[in-house]
């Protein structure tokens, strides 16, 4: 819950920065980290059973959303792209880093981690366990 609230405060700060016309690189940084924190907070809130954090889901939240935050920070710190600059996977390097860490990485890791934790952590004990 704390992560969720901190994330929301970050987003509010970023929006206030825009409304006040602040042109600091801290503004998009707050928005990026705030959005990631809100998502991580929601996922973590759903990874608790009877007050106990579920280990596989909790580890997944930390690594995936930590990786996304790292991707946002890295790209916000890189210089803006110029014509003829280095390409990675056919796109400007910064764009590829962003797509890999914020798009592809969670797209691959989250569904697999969820399926891996499903039988032991997600399914309540009293539910019938059929083959899907």
């Amino acid at each position: 819950m704390i992560v969720l609230v901190v994330g929301l405060v970050g987003i509010v700060a970023a929006y206030v920065g825009i409304l006040l016309g602040v042109a600091s690189p801290a503004v998009p940084m707050l928005m990026a980290l705030g959005s990631t924190a809100v998502l991580a907070g929601l996922a973590q809130l759903a990874s608790v059973r009877r007050g106990r954090a579920l280990p596989v889901l909790t580890r997944t939240v930390r690594w995936v959303f930590g990786g996304m935050a790292a991707g946002f920070i890295a790209v916000l710190l890189l210089p803006p792209p110029v014509a003829g600059g280095p390409l990675l996977l056919g796109l400007p390097r910064a764009t590829s880093i962003l797509l890999l860490l914020v798009g592809a990485m969670p797209m691959v890791v989250l569904p697999i981690a969820y399926a891996r934790a499903f039988d032991t952590e997600v399914m309540p004990a009293e539910e019938p366990r059929n083959d899907a």
């Binding site: 503004v27 809130l45 759903a46 797509l99 797209m107 989250l110 969820y114 997600v122």
Partner: protein, 486 residues
């Protein structure tokens, strides 16, 4: 050829509808597909009802115009395809089965023991549904006019009549199984056109070099609108996805909870394939225009139609037109179902009356909503444009706090839920109206939905904290068990 493919597509939809109609005998069948949907139809239907015609027409146009900024609309799908199941899936499914729930407002009523929460959320859903259905009816009219040269007005009525035929007769059961066919058409069309687009542009590195020579920012990490706009899109479409009722209420329909295990994997694959066209056509057309191989577009929305006409074999372009119709019809069917359920089931319950003859009355309300939306769609460019932008934001700001947080936090209170739903409803309608009527300008980098979503989340947490002493007494034992056990 396009006409033949169009006729074949509509005929297959009709055949599936006839099959499903024979199986629709109760309100459970009509609104939650008899709670008997398997994993594959569940995942493909969720994908098909998530993506509207925007994924095929508006999205590629936006990528053509503002580059990577527009990609942030679909980028959160990497997270949200799993997060929906993670945050909502098990609890919605178990609550639905334990209490016989039919709708998302039903879940809020059960969670907070509050008919007012059910009524208020039903009003928000209804407002969003009419907007969504009207804009999609207009888009379907455009597609039918393009396929059969009917004219826009008759196209709207023909499209509405076809969608209505299976929505009224078979309800969401017909919708789910036509969605499976429509979802496959969307994924195949999108993947094939993506490959043609890359080939037409000379491969991704050549496309990139061409575009960056003209405008380096377009394929830069944030696109031409900058980091704040891109990140606002990311926040709105990541967090807001948890409040979309056409997806959330599908968790009631799963045959059993064990089937949820592989849903995120399947949903991710389906969404990835269906969204390839969104990016591929946008960047390829931009490169072709920069090289002078295509004339500059009169409107960004011409990106897909112009590309199909110039570079895509006629059979494939016909498939894409079918894909666009599929995307629109599957979305309309889902929204007609939840709108009819709000009028048939949620509002009577909120007013203290037990719903009666839900199957018959549900069918009647489906017709009323569709006809009203088709009438609104005839006013293209005016009211329908406002209603179209209202839907997603209304669902996000009114439902995310009470539903996504409320189902995972026993400390949430009825007062928090009611305050956040009212805040989301009033702020979204008010601010969107002021912006649309040009009485208010929002600075670049901020979206109205972003503002209203943050406001309703903060109000929900703050009021729940102020009234935290009442939280325990507002939870039934059975609901508490489901919330705590997942």
């Amino acid at each position: 050829m396009r006409e033949l493919m169009g006729i074949a597509y509509f005929a297959i939809c009709a055949a599936i509808a006839v099959w499903a109609t024979r199986r629709t005998k109760t309100a459970d069948d009509f609104f939650v597909a008899g709670r008997g949907v398997g994993l594959v139809p569940f995942a493909i239907a969720a994908m098909a009802s998530t993506l509207s015609g925007f994924a095929f027409i508006g999205g590629p146009g936006l990528v053509y115009g503002i580059g990577m900024t527009a990609v942030f609309i679909i980028l959160p799908a990497g997270v949200t395809n799993t997060l929906g199941a993670w945050v909502l899936g098990t609890r919605m499914h178990r609550l639905g089965r334990a209490r016989g729930l039919l709708t998302v407002p039903d879940a809020l009523a059960a969670r907070y023991r509050s008919p007012a929460a059910q009524g208020l959320s039903a009003v928000a859903i209804l407002a969003g549904v009419i907007g969504y259905v009207a804009t999609n009816a207009l888009a379907l009219g455009v597609v039918i006019d393009a396929l059969f040269a009917t004219g826009l007005g008759p196209g709207i009525w023909i499209g509405t009549a076809v969608t209505l035929a299976y929505s009224v007769s078979g309800g969401i059961l017909a919708g789910i199984y036509t969605d499976v066919f429509q979802g496959v058409v969307m994924a195949v069309a999108s993947t094939a056109v993506f490959l043609v687009a890359l080939d037409a542009g000379g491969g991704l590195p050549a496309i990139t070099r061409t575009i960056e020579a003209a405008d380096p920012a377009l394929l830069g990490p944030w696109g031409t609108r900058g980091a704040m706009t891109a990140l606002s899109f990311f926040f709105v479409f990541a967090v807001g996805s948890l409040g979309q009722p056409q997806i959330a209420h599908k968790y009631y329909m799963l045959r059993d909870l064990a089937r949820l295990k592989w849903y995120p994997v399947l949903m991710t694959i389906a969404m990835l394939l269906a969204q390839l066209l969104f990016v591929g056509v946008g960047v390829a057309v931009k490169a072709l225009v920069v090289r002078g191989e295509m004339a500059p577009l009169a409107s960004p929305d011409d990106a897909t139609p112009q590309f199909l006409l110039r570079f895509v074999p006629v059979v494939l372009s016909a498939l894409v037109f079918a894909g666009v119709a599929a995307a629109i019809m599957s979305t309309v069917n889902s929204f007609l179902s939840i709108g009819a359920a709000a009028l048939t089931h949620d509002l009577p319950r909120a007013l203290g009356r037990e719903p009666i003859r839900q199957l018959t009355i549900g069918r009647l309300w489906t017709v009323v909503i569709a006809v009203l939306a088709a009438l609104l769609a005839q006013q293209a460019g005016l009211l329908v444009a406002f209603l179209g932008i209202l839907g997603y934001g209304l669902f996000a700001s009114t439902l995310v706090p009470a539903l996504a947080i409320g189902l995972n936090w026993t400390g949430a209170t009825r007062e928090g839920a009611l305050s956040s739903i009212a805040t989301g409803l009033a702020l979204t309608v008010g601010l969107e109206w002021l912006v649309w009527s040009k009485r208010l300008t929002v600075p670049q980098g901020i979206t109205v939905t972003g503002l209203t979503l943050v406001a309703s989340l903060l109000v929900f947490l703050w009021v729940s904290w102020l009234t935290r002493g009442r939280a325990a007494a507002q939870l039934d034992d059975e609901v508490r068990r489901i919330l705590e056990d997942g």
